[in-house]
């Protein structure tokens, strides 16, 4: 039991009767109760519900009716995702006391495969932030080093894997919110292609960019969990009818001759890349060469415009999506006696956090009549150019490799009062969101201060299996020890 740390190990142990779902779930709950007070991963733990699901899973297994690899595995869920009967707060005061009245499609998919939903995970409010500090409830810390940020916005999802407080977790990724915290915590995080996973029941931040992603210790864990949630859903009009492979079956393929591109723009002197991160990526590239991959320099001529275009498009969409939080239908109310307008303004002004208000203001500004063309339409045109850049690059290579983040996890508090500096940390993750492409971050090594460094692989649309396979082969040859924190 003590040797079971990863989702795959747990799945195998369950299959061969070495453990039970009740035992695994109890282990997670006990660890949460003993150490999570110092980390801040969970906003709510469904002890009774999780134990009931675990008992049901063990009963199924006893009668040879197991629902597969995820049956009985404790999974944590980011607070953006609706789980019937559990709080759904998006780490915001404006959704305080909100109880989800239905399951998101990804949760329905997990339940149909027997997964045990253990609780809701901390995050930056409404997915806005890159450090886990924008939660209205509590700051989430990096289990690798408690003085550092775990990244964000899926801070709790990444930290829970690093601290072994769940065997797999779900997050959401609008500009890097799965891959960046995965890099900072030494875990594996994948954002699938836009449309691969249903967003029904997921709180909207920026609808043309949002995707649900998964976390695990190892690539094979992420592959299993992604297979469990992906697929067409008629309740999400942007979900795409393309069959989902079993991603585990396509791991371990030879990557001899696979063409991998390095965007030369990322090596420009004006990109503030930590030398330790650069060395780590160069090491990964040389290891890929030893496996027979062919590595080329490629050009993404407009990629340096990604952060600027992203912050116009995402805030514009957010200002519209968050208009629904009006004090009428959800959460607490402030200013009821002053009439409708007063109720709206007071509730939103008092209950949204600082970063959310900043983004709503920017979004409202860029959508205002005098700015619409010069900002919003301009950004959408730049996005077209970025999509074309990737399309052209993928005629030459099968995958792109680059750092996940320009630095290692920075100290908590370092960037919270400098929003632009915080935004620029997403320079390597945002392009995949703008182009709707799948991207994965895996641990590539550690800095001198023993902080994890992430390597990112980006693939063609719907070729998650390709980047998972390359990531798996790289993981095997790098032999990074990302054992959970004791």
């Amino acid at each position: 039991m003590n040797n079971i740390n990863t989702l795959t190990q747990a799945s195998i142990a369950l299959k061969f009767g070495k453990t039970t779902s009740v035992e695994l779930t109890q282990k997670c709950i006990q660890r949460i109760e003993s150490i999570d007070e110092n980390i801040g991963c969970y906003l709510c733990v469904d002890k009774i519900g999780a134990m009931k699901q675990a008992i049901d899973s063990d009963a199924r297994r006893k009668f040879n009716q197991s629902l597969g690899e995820l049956d009985g595995i404790p999974i944590g869920i980011k607070d953006m995702i609706s789980c019937k009967g559990l709080p759904l707060n998006a780490s915001s005061k404006i959704l305080q006391d909100y109880l989800a009245s239905y399951d998101a499609t990804v949760i329905r998919n997990l339940r149909s495969k027997g997964a045990v939903i253990i609780g809701k995970l901390n995050q930056d409010e409404f997915g806005m932030g890159s450090s886990g500090e924008n939660s209205a409830y509590k700051i989430c810390k990096n289990p690798v080093n408690l003085s550092r940020t775990p990244g964000g916005s899926s801070s709790g999802s990444a930290a829970a894997i690093a601290a072994n407080l769940a065997f797999g977790t779900l997050g959401t990724d609008t500009g890097g919110s799965v891959r960046q915290p995965a890099a900072f915590t030494g875990t594996v995080g994948i954002k699938p292609t836009y449309g691969r996973v249903s967003r029904f029941g997921v709180i909207a931040f920026a609808s043309s960019l949002d995707q649900v992603g998964v976390f695990g210790h190892k690539v094979e864990d992420a592959a299993t969990l992604l297979s469990g949630i992906a697929g067409y859903d008629e309740q999400d009009s942007t979900s795409i009818k393309i069959s989902v492979p079993n991603y585990n079956l396509t791991l371990n393929r030879d990557i001899k001759g696979v063409r991998i591109g390095i965007p030369k723009e990322y090596l420009n002197k004006d990109v503030a890349l930590d030398p330790e991160v650069k060395t780590c990526v160069e090491n990964a590239i040389s290891r890929l060469r030893t496996l027979g991959a062919k590595v080329y320099f490629i050009s993404l001529p407009h990629v340096h415009l990604s952060v600027a275009a992203y912050h116009i498009i995402s805030t514009a969409e957010a200002s519209s999506n968050l208009a629904r939080y009006d004090g009428i239908r959800y959460g607490p109310r402030i200013g009821f006696e002053g009439g409708f307008k007063n109720l709206y303004k007071e509730t939103r002004g008092k209950l949204f956090g600082a970063e959310v208000k900043r983004r709503i203001l920017l979004g409202t500004f860029v959508l205002s009549a005098s700015c619409y063309d010069s900002y919003y339409i301009k950004a959408q045109k730049i996005r077209s150019l970025i999509v074309d850049d990737f399309r052209n690059a993928f005629t030459l290579v099968d995958a792109i490799i680059c750092p996940t983040v320009p630095s290692v996890a920075y100290p908590l508090g370092e960037r919270i009062n400098d929003p632009l500096k915080m935004y620029l940390g997403d320079i390597f993750t945002i392009p995949a969101n703008l182009a709707g492409l799948p991207g994965i971050s895996i641990p590539g090594g550690f800095s001198k201060e023993n902080l994890p460094i992430g390597i990112q692989l980006i693939g063609r649309p719907f070729e998650e299996s390709n980047i998972l396979n390359i990531a798996h082969m790289l993981e095997k040859i790098l032999k990074i020890n990302n054992e959970p924190v004791k």
């Binding site: 009245s101 004090g327 006696e337 409708f340 303004k345 005098s370």
Partner: protein, 116 residues
């Protein structure tokens, strides 16, 4: 708001003709109007902070002006597919359990401020 619109217009003209980079500035009047449009009650201190933050961010996004996009179409969908439309049928009624999330839930209705 009007002052800001005039400033942005002037800023674009100067930028195009003389290739001079003026710092982006927003008036307090403009930030108040934006907050009003966004239905956010903000204190004076907050407005001043956000004014500075927005100016910093808008100065940063000026980098987009370096590219001529006059012949580029704005993107419509990142993955070129038809949007799916489901049959317009009720599948699951969530009714009362959803209404209960309002702080104004009473007798299966939501209480709102007086309108008339």
């Amino acid at each position: 708001m009007l002052l800001s619109a005039v400033y942005i217009y002037f800023y674009c003209i100067v930028n195009i003709i003389y290739d001079i980079k003026l710092p982006m500035q927003i008036s307090m009047d403009c930030i108040e109007k934006i907050a009003n449009l966004a239905m956010l009650a903000l204190s004076k201190t907050e407005l001043e902070t956000y004014k500075k933050d927005l100016e910093n961010i808008l100065n940063y996004v000026k980098v987009l002006e370096s590219v001529d996009t006059s012949k580029v179409e704005p993107i419509r969908c990142v993955i070129p597919i038809e949007l799916n439309e489901r049959v317009d049928e009720v599948h699951e009624k969530i009714g009362e359990s959803s209404l209960r999330n309002s702080a104004g839930f009473e007798n299966n209705l939501i209480k709102v401020p007086k309108i008339i």
